[in-house]
Each structure stands twice: as structure tokens, then as C-alpha cells.
Symmetry: C2
Subunit: 413 residues, 2 copies
């Protein structure tokens, strides 16, 4: 038999669980049903006008590559933004601009790990980390966090137990996608101590840094450990300024060797998008703090509506997670993916249905997610209320048809 | 001693030779000298107005991710463009839109190779292929082409001799960066036969497809082997439409498994830039064939000026290469990088100097490039003539100071 054309690593990289069921949703729409999309973190808040303005006023006769490690003005603007909004003093020299935080993660895996090396993550985790690990030959080693305590970072011993000769880094996303949980300063300090002790890198995905509710303050690892050379931060404008389609992220580190390697990788792929960077720099220099304040209040409202509406039913174990715009909800089913498919193919309430992400895609041991769904609260309050109602009624009908048990009262908050 | 934080593969990935000497050029400018940049393929031809128009008329309230495998309209427009301009019948379904051809190459390496697998390339080669191979753990195995015969594709036997148990693909760039050589239909057919026989993938980088001179016609592998499922084509708008800063490339394949894997990788990194894609689709639908005809004539003129001007001297072995906008020139020095540095740091003619790329960065066995420089003819005719003159005088002075021999008459064309 001829050898297959496809590599083993590619055979082993599963399609994104968040997008895999897209065709079913499109079919539901074609059949005339309204679909509420709570499956993906595509915000609906208005992109700042300043971004579009920055793009439109770009008038170079020829659109050139930007500096491969990033438009110098953008590095400067981002640095000033962090100073102004987060009280962080980080020089523009520590930045490498990348095509979304995704590229920052790929670069960091390549820089810190050889094929077969390990990075510790916290499960449930952002599903695409697995895609990046597959591409770069890195093994992600999960430490499982529990829905019962709001997906808190586990005890130090539990993390240290997973460290092997091949461990190179610990990666954490805070505020967290998919759970909405937030690391405390003590959590971050503990993780850094573990990294110091075992000579690991601490990778912190701060894409959702400003999205914190209930009086929490935005917290960066650089608040806890200023200028620490063992740290890499991934950041992105996509969510913060509702501009996912602009591929502008950054990697920030005080480790000069990591920085040099990141610049080398950036130089091989030549440039991040020049127009997006021009727009982003213009926007960061001019955006009012009100923009983000309003956005954060809006997401908090949406979350509260979701909790209130789903709370009417005994079937949802939902946490008042303080961050990001996701929550991972436990439901009394044995196969959440089957429930998601049911919602898209069979269910209809007043000609409406809801698309949520099945939980299994967020777990390395997929079975742990079989009784969970991730909800992204990215619709306006009115739509959110309707969507939550439809979801609640949908689950009731599903349980009525397929059977299932309520979540024990003792587990409810 | 503590283990190093940086991976071996990252330690082994050298910075791009094309950009490594940038600081010297900037210093020369600061000192007041005019620097002609012939070191990088950054065209100076005007970006089509239609692209900017397409970007500016994009008016979505929120800038969303595009479909991860690419904006559907752009796939359609690109497909129509290939039909109209190249007589190729390729459905939009065979496209995956990527962040520049660079990403297409990274994806293809991941899809076809596991770490340690091999891809055959032709040396001299586009230097960044090594960066992508380093990232993905692929070993590039060079078959050396010779400046003496215009860097023609070597005989079949020479290629087959390099195939091992771990070979997964042959990759060729035509028209070629850095040599300007062009594959004939017979070359491509032969490469495909080798791939068929040994169950390999043929990767063809067609970034410069339309840039052919002296009566050559643009030739795609899909002219030679329509719909062949053993082929992946990399394409890009960066050079063709002088829009390097728009990160829009594509991967085209009829192999359904490769296509599915590419879509999975695309989905992990979410989206190519939405605005760039919108602008590109608008532009491709409207651009007049005259734009490219004029650009191609202009590059041919520049090449001819370069050849004429350097031909005055016996020191340059320069080929009338029929494609792309590069040429790899043999010069009678033992360390071309030293010559490039000399031009930037010591030499001045009427307060001008020239920045070319040292040849060693384009060879796996770097020593083979020590007597070569790559020239990108990306300046307008007037500047090109001046730059060539300055380069000629510079080399004469360098040889006068450092010694060196003329290229034997027998080697000149």
C-alpha cells in the first residue's frame, strides 16, 4: 500500500470544535429558522471608528511590507496604551507585532520547545491551543480545573506533579476562554515560582485582560512580576476593540533571547498586515477610555441576563464567572455534542434556535466535556435574553425526549 | 548548568540574510548617503487604486473574522482571475486563502511532513524556506542548480538520487526567486513524474507567475497537469499587484485530504485579514489586464538596464534570466557578504551606495553563495541605471582594495 500523503501530525489535528458544526447552523438558517450564535467569540460591539479612519487615511502609493517585527508606531502606541489603561511601564522595544495572538502562540511554541517537548495547560482550555501544538510538535499536558469550584487554578503540588524532563513552559489564559475564570495575583505568583524552580517559561494569554466584572480590576502578569524575563505575554486587539478581522496581536517579553528568536520568525514570514497595523496605531492613540468601559459594562449585563434566564431552570450549573465573555455550563446530558446537533437540526421555538459550542472540544480528555457547553455572550441584551430562553426550552425538550437527570442541588451555587 | 530556555530548532534558525544587514543601510542613510535598495523584493510600482477603493468601501459596523479558509468572494474572484488571465479552470472550492504565500508553505510542510521528514528544494533557494522548515521540523534537501547554465533544473537522475525513505515532497519556485530562471513545461512534467513514481507531493510556488520576459508566456503547473491531486500551488498577490503589505496569499490543490487539512489549520488561526481580503476581491474583479502588462514591461526594461550597465564591466557574470525580478550574479570575490558590508559602510560614489543581498543566504551550503550577490530590480529605470553604475564602480574599487580575479571569459555568456 502506498504511504499516505498526509503527515501523522496533520491526521491527528482535529478540526476546531467551535466551527465544525457550522454547516448545520447554516442549514437551519436556510430552512428559515433564526439562529442565535453563541458558539464563537465574535463580538457584535461596534469597531472603533478611529480604526477605520486610520485605515482610510493611509495613502502610500505602494502598500509595502511593514517592519517584520511590527510597525514601530504601533509598538509605541500599544506601549502607551498599556501605560495609560493598565499602569504598565513596558517599552515598545519589548513588543513583536504578530498576525493575531494565534501567531504569538505558534512562535512561542517554536521558540521554547523542540518537537516532543511539553507545555502544561489548564483544562478546559482554548481549543485552538491544540491546533498550534499539533503544528509545532508540542505536547500539551493538561492539569484539569473543576467546574465545581469555578475552574480555579489547582494547588501548586498538582501542577508540579505533571512536570517532566521535557516540560518547557506553563501556559495560562486569564481571563479565561472558555470558562470566564480569572487568575488572582497569588495564582500568577505561584505559577511563576513553579516556573522559576523548574526553569520553565510562563506564557500568559491576556487577550481578555480588560474584560473583568463585579469589581475585579484588570490584572497582567507584568503587574505581578514587572520585567520578568521568564514571561511571555500574548495580547490582541481582536476582542478588546471588536476587530477580530484585523489580524493584529503582539508578543511581549523581557527575555532578549526569546525576543530575538521571535524577530527571526517574524522576519521569515515578512510582515503582519500593514493597513491593519496603521489603523490600530491610529486607533490606540485616540480611543477614549469610555469605549472599553462601556463595552465591559455591556458584557457584564449580558452575562447577568444569561445567568438569570438559565437560572430559572434546574438543568444548568452556571457560574458567575468574573471575566472574558464565555462561560462553561454543566448540563445533565451524556453527550453535549448530540444536544448541540439536536438544537440545530430538530429543535425550533417560535422559529428560533441557538448554536452553542459542545464542551468536549475544550478538554484534552474529551469525555470530561461531554456534559458541558460553552456559551459566548456576544449578542446584545435583547437577543441574549431571547437566546437564553430558547436554549433553556431547548434543553428541557431534549431532556424530555432523550431522558437525563437534573444536576444535584448540592452542586448548584 | 540550567537548561536553556530556547529550543534547538530556534537556535538553529538563522535570521533572514536579506534583512540582517538592514541596520548598516540605515546607518549609511543617517550619515547622509543615498542608498539604492536592491536587497529585497519590495516593488515600487503603484498598488492598484481598486485595492484601496475596495478596502475603503468596506463599511461593516463590526470588523469580523472572515471565513477561516478565506472570504468566499475572494476565492471566486481569484478563480475568475486565473481563468481570464491564465486560461486556467480552477473552481473557487480548491482555494484556501492564507496570510501571504508564507503561510501556505508553513501549512503545506505541516500537512505533508512529520518532524524529520524531507522536502527536496533547488539551491539557490528563497531563503525563508529555511525559516519555515525550521519552524515545522522539516529537513530541506538541496539539489544544486548551476549559475553556468542559468540555474536550469538538473537532470531527473540527479533529483532521484536525493530521494530517501523520508522524502515527502519536491518544492520548486518558478519564476524563481532568487535566480530569475523559469521552469519549462518539460521541467514541470519531469518533476511530476518523479513525484508520481516516488509518491511525493509537488509544491509549486507561483508567486511570480506573470513576471516573464523575452516572449515567455506565464506557465502554471496546472497548465501542464490540470487538476492533478499530487500538486499544491502557492500563490500571492503581494508582488503581482505591488501590495506586499496586504497579507493575502492562497494555496490551491485538488487533493481533498490536503485541502481538508489546510482548512483545519486555517481554522485554528481563525482568519486571514478581512479588510485586505475585501480589497483584494474588489480589485481582482475590476483590474484591467493593462496593469500587469505595463508592470511586466517595466520590469523587463529594468532588467535590461541592469544587464547593460553591469555588462560594461568584466566583473559580473549576469544571466538574462527570463523571470521574476531577481537575478543572482557571480562576482570575483571570495566573500560577497564582506563586499555588501563594504558597500554600506565604506563606499560612496557621489554620495550614493547600493544595498544588495549576499548570495550565501540562498544556499544550504552557504559557501556556494560566497561569490554571488542577488539583485532585486525593483527601482524605476532611472534609479536602476544609477544604482547599477554605483554597484559597478563599487565592485571595481573593492577589488582594487581587496584584490580578486575577473571571471574567466569562457564563463561569460
Amino acid at each position: 500500500m502506498p504511504r499516505t500523503i498526509i503527515s501523522t501530525r496533520s491526521e491527528n489535528t482535529p478540526p476546531s470544535p467551535i466551527r465544525r458544526l457550522d454547516p448545520l447552523a447554516r442549514r437551519a438558517e436556510k430552512e428559515g429558522r433564526t439562529v442565535y450564535y453563541l458558539n464563537i467569540g465574535q463580538p457584535d460591539i461596534r469597531t472603533p471608528r478611529e480604526f477605520y479612519k486610520g485605515v482610510r487615511r493611509y495613502r502610500e502609493k505602494t502598500l509595502p511590507y511593514s517592519r517584520s517585527s511590527g510597525h514601530e508606531g504601533l509598538c509605541q502606541s500599544w506601549s502607551s496604551y498599556l501605560k495609560r489603561n493598565n499602569g504598565l511601564d513596558i517599552s515598545a522595544d519589548q513588543f513583536v507585532i504578530v498576525c493575531g495572538a494565534s501567531e504569538a502562540i505558534v512562535f512561542s511554541f517554536v521558540i521554547c520547545c523542540d518537537p516532543g517537548d511539553e507545555v502544561i495547560i489548564f483544562d478546559p482550555t482554548y481549543a485552538n491551543y491544540h491546533g498550534f501544538a499539533g503544528m509545532t510538535g508540542v505536547n500539551l499536558i493538561p492539569v484539569v480545573t473543576s467546574s465545581e469550584n469555578g475552574f480555579a487554578i489547582p494547588a501548586r503540588e498538582e501542577i508540579e506533579r505533571t512536570i517532566t524532563r521535557r516540560t518547557r513552559a506553563i501556559m495560562v489564559c486569564t481571563p479565561n476562554n472558555p470558562t470566564g475564570s480569572v487568575c488572582s495575583a497569588a495564582d500568577l505568583k505561584m505559577l511563576l515560582e513553579v516556573c522559576e524552580k523548574h526553569n520553565l517559561v510562563l506564557m500568559v494569554d491576556e487577550t481578555y485582560r480588560e474584560f473583568v466584572y463585579d469589581g475585579y480590576e484588570p490584572l497582567s502578569i507584568y503587574h505581578v512580576a514587572p520585567a520578568n524575563p521568564r514571561v511571555i505575554v500574548f495580547d490582541s486587539l481582536s476582542k478588546r476593540f471588536s476587530m477580530c478581522g484585523a489580524r493584529v496581536g503582539c508578543l511581549i517579553t523581557y527575555n532578549q533571547k526569546i525576543l530575538a528568536s521571535a524577530r527571526t520568525l517574524a522576519s521569515a514570514r515578512l510582515s503582519a498586515p500593514t493597513l491593519d497595523q496603521a489603523g490600530a496605531a491610529f486607533m490606540l492613540d485616540r480611543i477614549s477610555p469610555r469605549y472599553l468601559q462601556k463595552a465591559v459594562l455591556e458584557y457584564q449585563k449580558r452575562r447577568n441576563i444569561l445567568i438569570e434566564e438559565l437560572g430559572v431552570s434546574d438543568h444548568f450549573l452556571i457560574h458567575r464567572s468574573p471575566g472574558a465573555f464565555y462561560t462553561l455550563v454543566k448540563i445533565p446530558v451524556s453527550d453535549a455534542e448530540d444536544f448541540v446537533k439536536y438544537m440545530l437540526t430538530e429543535f425550533s421555538y417560535k422559529n428560533q434556535t441557538v448554536f452553542v459550542a459542545p464542551g468536549n472540544g475544550f478538554y484534552t480528555n474529551r469525555a470530561l466535556g461531554d456534559n458541558k457547553i460553552r456559551i459566548a455572550y456576544v449578542l446584545n441584551c435583547k437577543a441574549m435574553k431571547k437566546a437564553a430562553e430558547v436554549l433553556r426550552i431547548g434543553l428541557e425538550e431534549y431532556l424530555g425526549q432523550k431522558g437525563g437527570e437534573d444536576i444535584p442541588k448540592s452542586e448548584k451555587q
